[in-house]
Symmetry: C2
Subunit: 113 residues, 2 copies
DNA sequence: TAGACATTTAAAGGAATATTGAAATGTTGG
DNA sequence: CCAACATTTCAATATTCCTTTAAATGTCTA
């Protein structure tokens, strides 16, 4: 359940090329995640720069960090991403079918009668 | 079909309180839309300020303008919003069910055989 | 067509964000 | 413990973004 200011922070995080690419790589990488260095390498940005953007994404709650030996491994925060999609469709766009897409039931599990 | 830089522009538009609220009001208002002045009033911001943010949203393709008499009426660009939701779910998040929500079919209209 | 109205444009200042390079922190293996 | 490694933090700069005010544009009505 995302509030307005959290959503703004999340959108702000996505509004930047490096961060958007980081997120894509992390979603693809799954629960295992990727180290800061590996992300820096793939995206061809400096260690200090990737660190800056990783902090930004982490503060926004879109990714999380864990240490593994010398490396720090980042991974996507799927819950937060789901909440953001939900915010965009429901809170922001009033659940309008022109936005959510017809034939796409809003994220409700099928109700047991 | 949104490209990366268009998506970044769209997210940038949503990463600001006034603009996010404008968009909400416009989605709620439907195809009829709302005038710049009416938006400025409801959101308690100056005419020139609302105009600034409306331009921003329009440049990002999220809203559109039409003139009606003295007023300029803005309305939500539902297609662009749908594309953005799609981008977030598919391009950005690899269509991962942890993000799109299980039980929510991807936005395909039921195919006429 | 003059005047009021609705909005935009332009210019300027201040605030937030991004990039860079250098120094600091924490971690591991010898 | 020391040296190399992985990453972060800091400080400085550059850039972009937001707000405000004033002036300009376009539209309608009397």
């Amino acid at each position: 359940m995302l509030g307005e200011s959290q959503a703004i922070a999340a959108f702000g995080s996505l509004a930047q090329e490096t961060r958007l690419r980081v997120l894509r790589l992390l979603v693809q990488a799954g629960a295992e995640g990727l180290s800061a260095g590996s992300l820096a390498e793939r995206l061809e940005v400096s260690p200090s720069n990737i660190s800056f953007h990783l902090s930004h994404l982490e503060r926004a709650g879109l990714i999380q960090a864990r240490r593994q030996a010398r490396s720090i491994i980042y991974s996507a925060a799927y819950d937060a991403l789901r909440d953001l999609v939900r915010f965009l469709m429901e809170d922001c766009c009033a659940g309008d079918p022109r936005v959510t897409g017809r034939g796409c039931a809003p994220a409700e599990p099928p109700k047991p009668a």
